[in-house]
């Protein structure tokens, strides 16, 4: 074609990025890679390799080692060996290493970008302009955290060896999200990149060597799911960080239940994009392009559900279709391509299958008249209309360039539809009214909300989900906390196994006339309730003498209590000042009855402990009354014009299994921070002295605590825990008990991936303020929602 013809056609023409340098690097390694363990190329013990290929062409790029348990073991050993020295060097030295890594990523930016595009199929524009710059930014930001570690996290220590498993959609970026904070906090790392996309992790390993990172601080083991499983189960790993599918996340939760491994999960999503009638519609369309047609829609926080206000639904869809027609699909190495290749055949099949099912269920499928490349794994941008919440394409994560559109009538309905999902990763809200946008943002169950924008990321801002999108945050201060633990917690001894109370004959003797029998009931929805079972459990004192009887709660009582707690959800929307007032009032009323409560408690704990529990208990209530309006969020500083608000939000309905050993103080130490933060609670008091419930609810009743905010179900902790842990409407579970109880809590919580906070079977000295109260508890009682509000006129 001559220039004259091109002048007439005004087509873009090809604009290929040169992949010579990246290929030369592959050749340099003979297109065959071992693991990276203790700064050395490590041949796989079993001698097995697998191929990684370019999804746009099918070309085999390299053979990569298949990690066996032996390889994982070698890597964990290397990481363990490196740990003491790495933790001993000053934070400033770690900061220098991270800074060096940031610089090296920048110096090799283009090779890394090309390699990423070859291995993953994402457009070079994205790897060049988004992935790799964010990788560098993440290392810079965390070089800063490394430098400030002692000042900003006093009393905290790194977890130890961290096992990290990352997905294929942003291979090097996810590596940075995982490795940078782990190293900044002083951990050493074994990372397993995704099977489809191991190459940039191996290139990064070389940068670690170039930076002079001590051997064993970063280890990369390649392989498939079995390699990941070996890593998850390895006893030498103290912390598991996983990004990937909810199915695998659930399996990891179960697999780690019996260990003391700290766990963070960043899982799937079905994130809504909500467009109001007063939005800048043309910009909202670009938001959808950034939301669902970014990285072929293979993004955990992809804006895959479009919720449109009815009045603008048709014009908006017309604009969306017109925009889809201008998206360019083709070779990911072409600089002017918007949509590249789908990572693997299995993923392409999944997209095709789900779209077909959506259509079979009544959705209308629209795709622009674009021709796909003849070769390679491509899927066109797709719009599904006529979708209802019941449709599979409205519920399941497709992980492809497929947008499911629905309409709503009012802001309230928008929120309802948006939250009608098991996921809660991200959301995007489009409105020119700051009132509407922020009002809706506050109500969305999502860890990240972008106002008038989509898919913005920065190292300074926490990223992570609500509900089955996982727990833990990456980025910012909240992200650092995932790789740290209080020093005292690490040093706490194991709690002895709980023994069943021994029964002795007789009843505590009383002098004079027989006392009026004290009736303690369950406390549900602000009312005393008889147990469904009609049974009671005996409560005995330290000598085994019968003190009284407490109701024996069962699963139906738990069900009722959870329902009551859910109904009391407006507690979380009450002002913090209001919650603070109620807590102060609880302390006041408690104080008035301190002597009698202590006297009764003394029968079980002894006088000294009883008095201490009451005295410290009142203080503890005061502390959380104080905290209620002071546990502030933050405003982060991402590098562009924007306010990014990190809000500490209540998690929702919490189940709390209280420690046995301090019946009163244990209850207050766990329940008070939970309600101070706006959660509602179903508490199971100490099995040793459940009668404390009677004293507590009488105080609650007289202290303006709304019914349902605290519900108390007495009974056998093991049984009640099971119902709470499996209940889909319980958002978080706190369980303080022995190893076995904690393991049950963690394992059963996997059904809805509720957040679990346990003492990890350790003995926590609740009588000690450092261990018994403060930010650590508040952090577990809240989840951080990052709301991004770009501004400008």
């Amino acid at each position: 074609m001559s220039i004259v013809e091109k002048f007439a056609s005004m087509e873009y023409g090809p604009a290929p990025e040169d992949s010579k340098d990246a290929r030369a690097w592959l050749e340099q390694h003979g297109r065959r890679f071992g693991h990276f363990i203790a700064s050395k190329q490590h041949k796989p013990a079993a001698g097995e390799y697998f191929d990684t290929s370019d999804p746009a062409t099918g070309e085999k790029l390299a053979s990569v080692a298949q990690g066996s348990p032996a390889d994982v073991n070698a890597a964990v050993k290397a990481a363990s060996a490196a740990l003491p020295k790495w933790q001993k060097i000053v934070p400033h030295a770690r900061a220098r290493y991270l800074y060096a890594l940031a610089r090296l990523v920048q110096k090799h930016a283009r090779r890394l970008a090309v390699l990423e595009t070859l291995d993953n199929g994402k457009p070079i524009r994205e790897s060049r302009d988004i992935d790799i710059p964010l990788v560098a930014r993440h290392f810079y930001h965390h070089a800063g955290w490394a430098q400030l570690l002692d000042q900003e996290f006093p009393g905290f220590a790194p977890c130890g060896v961290v096992g990290q498993i990352i997905p294929w959609n942003f291979p090097l970026l996810m590596l940075a999200w995982k490795i940078a904070p782990a190293l900044a906090a002083g951990n050493t790392v074994v990372l397993k990149p995704a099977e489809f996309t191991p190459l940039t992790a191996l290139a990064f390993a070389e940068l670690c060597s170039e930076a002079g990172l001590p051997a064993g601080v970063v280890n990369i083991v390649t392989g498939d799911g079995s390699t990941g499983e070996a890593l998850v189960k390895h006893p030498g790993v103290h912390n598991i960080a996983f990004t990937g599918s909810t199915v695998v996340g659930r399996a990891i939760r179960k697999a780690t239940a019996e260990s003391r491994k700290k766990l963070s999960l960043e899982l799937g999503g079905k994130s809504p994009v909500i467009v109001f009638e007063d939005a800048d519609l043309d910009s909202a369309v670009e938001g959808l392009v950034d939301g669902i047609w970014f990285n072929q829609g293979q993004v955990c926080c992809a804006g895959s559900r479009l919720l449109m206000q009815e009045s603008i639904a048709e014009p908006l869809l017309a604009k969306v279709r017109a925009r889809m027609a201008t998206l360019r699909i083709g070779s990911p190495l072409d600089k002017a391509v918007d949509i590249g290749a789908i990572v693997a055949p299995v993923q392409l099949e999944r997209i095709q299958r789900l779209v077909a099912q959506g259509v079979a269920e009544g959705a209308t499928c629209w795709q622009p008249p674009t021709t796909l490349p003849a070769k390679g794994l491509f899927y066109p941008p797709t719009l599904l209309t006529g979708v209802h919440p019941t449709s599979i394409v409205a519920q399941q994560e497709i992980f492809g360039p497929v947008l499911a559109a629905m309409s709503f009538r009012t802001p309230a309905e928008a929120v309802e539809l948006a939250n009608n999902s098991v996921y809660g990763l991200a959301a995007s809200v489009w409105s020119e009214s700051v009132n509407v946008a922020l009002h809706v943002a506050a109500q969305l169950k999502a860890g990240v909300v972008w106002v008038n924008s989509t898919n913005l990321f920065d190292a300074a801002c926490g990223f992570g989900g609500y509900r089955e999108s996982g727990y833990g945050r990456e980025g910012g201060r909240e992200g650092m906390l995932e790789y740290l633990e209080p020093v005292w917690f690490q040093k706490a001894p194991a709690l002895p196994k709980t023994k069943a109370a021994k029964a002795a004959a007789g009843k505590v003797e009383k002098s004079g006339a027989p006392a009026i029998d004290r009736t303690v009931k369950l406390y549900i929805g602000g009312k005393q309730a008889r147990p469904d079972s009609g049974y009671s459990m005996e409560v005995r004192d330290a000598r085994g003498m019968l003190l009284g009887e407490a109701p024996l709660g069962n699963r139906k009582d738990v069900r009722n209590a959870v329902e009551a707690a859910r109904k009391a959800g407006s507690w979380g929307k009450a002002t913090a000042h209001n919650r603070s007032q109620v807590l102060f009032y609880i302390a006041e009323n408690f104080s008035a009855r301190a002597a009698e409560i202590a006297a009764r408690l003394a029968a079980v704990t002894g006088k000294k402990q009883a008095e201490a529990e009451v005295r410290l208990g009142i203080e503890r209530i005061f502390s959380y009354a104080a905290w209620a309006d002071k546990f502030d969020g933050a405003v982060h500083n991402p590098p562009f014009r924007n306010i990014s608000i990190a809000m500490n939000e209540p998690i929702g309905t919490m189940g709390i299994v209280c420690p046995v050993e301090a019946p009163l103080l244990g209850f207050l130490s766990l329940v008070m921070p939970a309600i101070a933060c706006g959660n509602t609670v179903v508490a199971v008091p100490s099995e040793a002295y459940p009668l404390i419930a009677g004293d507590l609810y009488q105080v609650f009743d007289t202290s303006d605590l709304p019914g349902g905010v605290v519900n108390i179900v007495t009974g056998h902790a093991g049984e009640l825990l099971k119902t709470l842990a499996e209940h889909a409407d319980v958002d978080a579970l706190w369980c303080f008990g022995d190893d076995a109880l904690c393991a049950t809590a963690k394992s059963l919580s996997a059904s809805n991936l509720k957040q679990v906070f346990t003492n990890q079977g350790r003995a926590i000295d609740l009588f000690h303020v450092e261990q018994g109260e403060g930010r650590w508890y508040l952090e577990h009682a809240t989840q951080v929602k990052n709301i991004w509000v770009p501004y400008g006129e």
């Binding site: 004259v4 002048f7 005004m10 023409g13 800048d280 043309d282 489009w430 008038n452 924008s453 014009r641």
Partner: protein, 345 residues
């Protein structure tokens, strides 16, 4: 117009054959020239522009598209064909304008034309843009070339002389032979939300233009907010503007990509709503070949290929041509060029 279209090959001519009245198409819909429409205040007030989102789109749009090699050469030639070669200085003289007109006729060195193999394009710029005083000189200098003469008018650049004088100014320029009139709006009407006054003013200008094409300069650097730009664009189109244009070149900031995005989106929405096509002219601050490619990509993305013609799109620029000439010489020879190797405008 026909003579220009005849010179251009390919799809554009065919499209015009199939829909004789259409001057452009958008999303498959043929569009007629803008006849204006009654002022619709609901529409004007419903214009929403989110500044941050528009800036983000403008930033990423230019990283999403690029043209290389022969395609780049073709696009740069296209940029030349869409230029309003402009001189608007206090020291302009007739001779200066004639020199500009000579450059307008032969924007590229003949040897480059031959090396690029584009002789049959008979490449010229689209128009020469001057003050009223020089219209007649320009018309004479461009006779037979098909290059149009545009006059800035209506108290350019401030637009604050009495309305009757501004209207009379247009009439004088049209009588002097100007094919196109670049009018400036009263920015105060925008700040005051006085859309009726703005509409009436532009409609009066349009009437005075008669058959001459009217480009409405919004003075976007003065309007400051993108929302103002969006609303003023809509009012100007309703009042019958054939083109909307960003700037006089005399405001503190001139044509920026975010402003261009808001205006092209306004044109798109107006076209889809009314079936009428309005042209677009960014002016001022566009100095490099690279910028010209960015603007062309923006137009292609937002309005489609039908707008990539002088009938629908113009660059208001004076310095840009020099850089394009250097780039084209580099394309033809593989060696970087120098400005003194190309004839002055």
């Amino acid at each position: 117009m026909a003579t220009r279209e005849d010179r251009e090959t390919g799809t554009l001519a065919r499209r015009d054959d199939s829909a004789p009245e259409a001057i452009a198409t958008l999303e498959g819909q043929p569009l007629g020239p803008n006849r204006g429409m009654p002022l619709n205040l609901d529409w004007v007030r419903a214009v929403r522009v989110n500044t941050s989102a528009v800036e983000r789109r403008a930033q990423t749009l230019v990283t999403r598209r690029t043209v290389k090699k022969d395609w780049q050469a073709a696009w740069l030639l296209r940029a030349i064909s869409c230029m309003d070669l402009t001189t608007l200085s206090g020291d302009d003289t007739e001779e200066r304008v004639r020199r500009l007109c000579a450059k307008a006729r032969r924007p590229l060195r003949q040897d480059l034309v031959e090396r690029l193999g584009i002789a049959k394009l008979n490449l010229t710029v689209a128009a020469v843009c001057v003050y009223h005083t020089f219209v007649e000189a320009a018309v004479r200098a461009l006779e037979g070339s098909g290059i149009r003469v545009a006059a800035v008018s209506t108290g350019f650049p401030a637009g604050l002389s009495p309305l009757a004088e501004r209207v009379a100014e247009i009439r004088r320029s049209v009588e002097a032979g100007a094919h196109e009139i670049d009018i400036v709006i009263t920015r105060a009407h925008v700040f005051g939300g006085n859309w009726q006054a703005l509409y009436d003013e532009i409609a009066a200008f349009k009437q005075a233009c008669g058959a001459a094409h009217m480009k409405a300069i919004l003075g976007t650097g003065d309007l400051l907010t993108l929302r103002n730009v969006g609303r003023a664009s809509v009012v100007a189109m309703m009042a019958g503007a054939d083109f909307i244009k960003t700037s006089t070149g005399k405001e503190p900031t001139n044509a920026t990509l975010p402003v261009g995005l808001v205006m092209t989106r306004a044109i798109r929405n107006y076209a889809l709503e009314t079936g009428m096509a309005v042209g677009f002219k960014p002016a001022g601050g566009i100095r490099t070949a690279k910028q010209s490619l960015e603007w062309l990509a923006l137009i292609k993305e937002e309005l489609g290929p039908s707008w990539l013609r002088a009938e629908m799109f113009r660059f208001g620029a004076s310095g840009m041509l020099g850089d394009i000439e250097r780039q084209l010489e580099h394309h033809a020879t593989g060696r970087y060029s120098a400005d003194f190797r190309h004839p002055l405008a």
